[in-house]
Symmetry: C2
Amino acid sequence: MIPVIDDIRAAAERIKGIAVRTPLLRNDALDEATGAKLWVKAECLQRGGAFKMRGATNAIAALAPEVRERGVIAFSSGNHAIAVSTAAKIFGISAVIVMPADAPKIKLDTTRANGAEVVTYDRVNESREAIGKQLAEERGLSLIKPFDDANVIAGQGTVGLEIGEEIAPDIAIVPASGGGLCSGVSIALPNARIIACEPQGHDDIARSFVSGKRERNAPGIRSICDGLLTEEMGDITYAVARQRWERVAVMSDDAVRRAMKFAFQRLKIVLEPSGAIGLAAALEGGLDLRSKTVAIVASGGNVDAETFTKALAS
Amino acid sequence: MIPVIDDIRAAAERIKGIAVRTPLLRNDALDEATGAKLWVKAECLQRGGAFKMRGATNAIAALAPEVRERGVIAFSSGNHAIAVSTAAKIFGISAVIVMPADAPKIKLDTTRANGAEVVTYDRVNESREAIGKQLAEERGLSLIKPFDDANVIAGQGTVGLEIGEEIAPDIAIVPASGGGLCSGVSIALPNARIIACEPQGHDDIARSFVSGKRERNAPGIRSICDGLLTEEMGDITYAVARQRWERVAVMSDDAVRRAMKFAFQRLKIVLEPSGAIGLAAALEGGLDLRSKTVAIVASGGNVDAETFTKALAS
């Protein structure tokens, strides 16, 4: 079921005091480069380093207490893992996280440091959905889906709610893969034109917009944007995308690296590749943003030193 | 003349809409590492990338219009240069900035990009104060002092005012060199114990606290903290220091690099060395912060990729 704005308002109440209200940053150089009035929603400064904390917290808070006590399970390439393990720790319940074996080390380490049990799988040959489902059934755990869930989408939508409380954007530029964040933001900002961003080579959403049916990515395709490698959108998020998203900006790894460097030099924030893709789209995506009020969601900052250093050298 | 808290409130009104209100960040790992409830005032997210924008804007705004129109001059190792040139650009007046020839390239470039005329000097053999004074007299420019000025101190004090509007810190940890920021913050937070931080080898304030008289640094001493290399405190700031600052934490370059890395990994903000010294003091300064509410001023983020990369490798 597609959440409505009141679900997002309810989520905002539930996550208060757990997730933080992140700042909306302005920068002169960014405005000069684009001719727009740009605002960057710095979700890298969110607890856990990414927006995912919002959806995970809302989904866990919405469970019946006796169900919640049995623990939760999640499958994730990284930030959802950190978010669910952090939220589980706060609620004092156990968490099992199914993660790809090649997930960034910082994300594996952080999830374990939160006290979660990490189960790894092979991203190319195994299905995380199948592994997650089986473990959930065996142990009586509640599956906290990464995106295709009304409570998760409503939680991520609080990003848009906070943006709308401070500015009235003409355009919102949002990273998308599973589509939970972009769906939530588009529901929270009904008057904004929505531009979704995805990595080159992993552009199922752009292809879906062309073909008119839900496309998927071949498993195993890599991109620097490790947080945007979902195989396909969910039922709910695809429905929202068709209703609300105007277009998709497909960005190269190099453009994303330059955006990470821009964020370092000008905004003074640390963005992971997936978190910088919206900034890359604003700077190099060929979008006409002139004279518009634009919100860019910088979705996270969980990047290892090696990847970041390489971006700074670009 | 030492400014009072009403001067800081007046400064807050003057700089509104020019300087931004920066967020106060919390982090679980930081609290766990110190046993305190720590808040980081992220002045790296300030316009121009450092707190200096506050004092420069307040000082320029306080000039009589007919005086302001003739232009301003400043001498600075970097962030004050960027701040004065940015504020001058906003007020539509000309600015001459006297900078050491070995200032970080990013700071020289940014100052020039703001339209200021940059005059370089030799940090070891020349006095920036003398050069600045001569140019000011020749061209009828108003000298915007970097720290020893009531309007500048009041402007920097708005950092403390904003902290005090959100939390009631037992302790404030603040970088100090000329002492403008630390003086302003200590006046704005009359109930907080003030810990000033300065770099090893450039510890004139710590030595002043021991000797009971204002000490100075031999010219030419280097530190990674390029923003904290003032030769000695000013008359006003030294008077405030004696009245209000409780102690001085002297930190090594290596501790500062580790704090920069911590800020990257955990807080997801970019800190220049001088901006990270307060975090270094909280993490490695041997301070007993247990169970205290502590505000750390992270004063700026204008660091080049090479220095930052080296910190990440530490």
